[in-house]
């Protein structure tokens, strides 16, 4: 399959610095949007963006185009870094913080009617109970933790965990078939 981002990452793996510049120009808006959505803090997102591209250069040799698309690999690095940072933050106890964690509505997800992968994920999400599908999307797109979800749904953390794990396994079944 045509994957121009993967081609550039492979050039980076070959220590091509010009390709690295091109990769930044072509993909930084998507990765910055990802970091900004999860971290919700512009200066921290800028800091994280530098970190992400540093990792990308250092790990480019481990990218395997046979295992997935270039953009998927880049976003996984950005999401992981953003979630690491989010979890390392001191716990927020004020009401404001809870409000912030609970506020992002699945505005963007409604546009998930694109082709291919997105369509299949979307179809399979439709097989889940709506609140569980929302929880999975909230975790993926906004970096909500089990603790955030427990607060949001006002149920014990272990309850959330039990039903979300079941939903994830069901999602996997649906996506495999």
């Amino acid at each position: 399959m045509d994957d121009p981002v993967a081609d550039i990452i492979l050039k980076c793996a070959a220590q091509d610095r010009a390709a690295f510049g091109q990769l930044y120009r072509d993909t930084s808006a998507k990765l910055f949007g990802t970091l900004l959505r999860i971290l919700a803090d512009r200066s921290e997102a800028e800091d994280a963006l530098q970190e992400v591209y540093t990792r990308v250069w250092l790990r480019a040799g481990r990218f395997d185009a046979a295992k997935g698309r270039g953009m998927t690999w880049l976003i996984a690095i950005a999401r992981n870094l953003a979630i690491d940072r989010l979890r390392a933050r001191p716990p927020v106890t004020s009401d404001d913080g809870i409000e912030l964690a609970a506020s992002p509505e699945p505005r963007a997800e409604t546009r998930l009617i694109a082709l291919g992968e997105a369509r299949r994920v979307s179809d399979c999400f439709d097989t889940l109970e709506p609140d569980r599908a929302r929880a999975v999307r909230g975790a993926y797109l906004s970096g909500l933790s089990y603790a955030d979800l427990a607060t949001r749904h006002a149920v014990p953390l272990n309850t959330i965990r039990t039903w979300l794990r079941r939903s994830l396994l069901r999602l996997r079944e649906c996506l495999e078939t």
């Binding site: 808006a29 959505r37 540093t54 295992k67 994920v121 970096g143 089990y146 979300l164």
Partner: protein, 214 residues
């Protein structure tokens, strides 16, 4: 809904999915990251979930990013060899590379390697810098964070080069993607206003410094 316990295979699948979604707290997340590094089967489950959920990536709206490429390149490629030394450098580079490879091959540290200890004379404030898997981790092992309104900022300084910021030191260890810091380079901590140096160079007093390999 059934409440039968998960099978070991389901348990692994659930943990991989939870990791990719980012649901666990910090302690559990760190444990899962350690498992990803140590267990290729589990790492493959994680990769499969990343691919499986990639369709959700459409939900991330692009936002034009500032041009941070110069800072990123300064971190990755600091202090290019100066022209006068270049011929010698290129002559020796293959040999050096071979030695490094040999060293990596034979040492292959499983534990993070201590590369520098930065401390005050009385050791009241101490940071340790460790390196593993392209990651430099700086942990405060004694003392306290900077007073309110200030922050400790970490710098790496190549010989004859300007300091390059590696980030701000808070209570949690700071992990930055980095190559093996070369011998003779310096790690330093300066006291900066909250949010870090506004200029990109140290503005406050340098309170700690240590040369790598000293």
């Amino acid at each position: 809904m059934t409440d039968t316990p998960l099978t070991p295979r389901e348990e692994d699948e659930a943990q991989a999915a939870e990791y990719v979604l980012g649901l666990p707290d910090l302690a559990e997340r760190m444990a899962l990251e350690a498992r990803i590094k140590a267990d290729p089967c589990f790492a493959a489950l994680v990769t499969a979930w990343e691919t499986r959920l990639a369709g959700l990536n459409d939900g991330f709206d692009p936002v034009p990013a500032p041009d941070l490429l110069p800072q990123i390149e300064a971190r990755l490629f600091p202090a290019a060899p100066r022209p006068a030394r270049r011929s010698l450098f290129w002559l020796l580079a293959p040999l050096a590379a071979a030695l490094v490879l040999a060293a990596v091959f034979f040492v292959t540290p499983r534990e993070a390697v201590l590369v520098a200890t930065l401390q005050t004379e009385d050791a009241a404030l101490t940071y340790e810098a460790r390196y593993q898997d392209d990651t430099l981790t700086i942990t405060r092992v004694a003392g306290t964070a900077a007073a309110a309104g200030q922050v400790h900022e970490l710098w790496i300084i190549a010989p004859d080069a300007a300091p390059v910021s590696l980030g701000l030191l808070a209570d949690a260890p700071l992990s930055v993607a980095y190559r093996v810091p070369p011998k003779g380079w310096t790690l330093a901590v300066s006291l900066e206003p909250a949010g870090g140096s506004p200029t990109g160079q140290p503005t406050g007093p340098v309170i700690l410094a240590a040369q790598i390999g000293a």
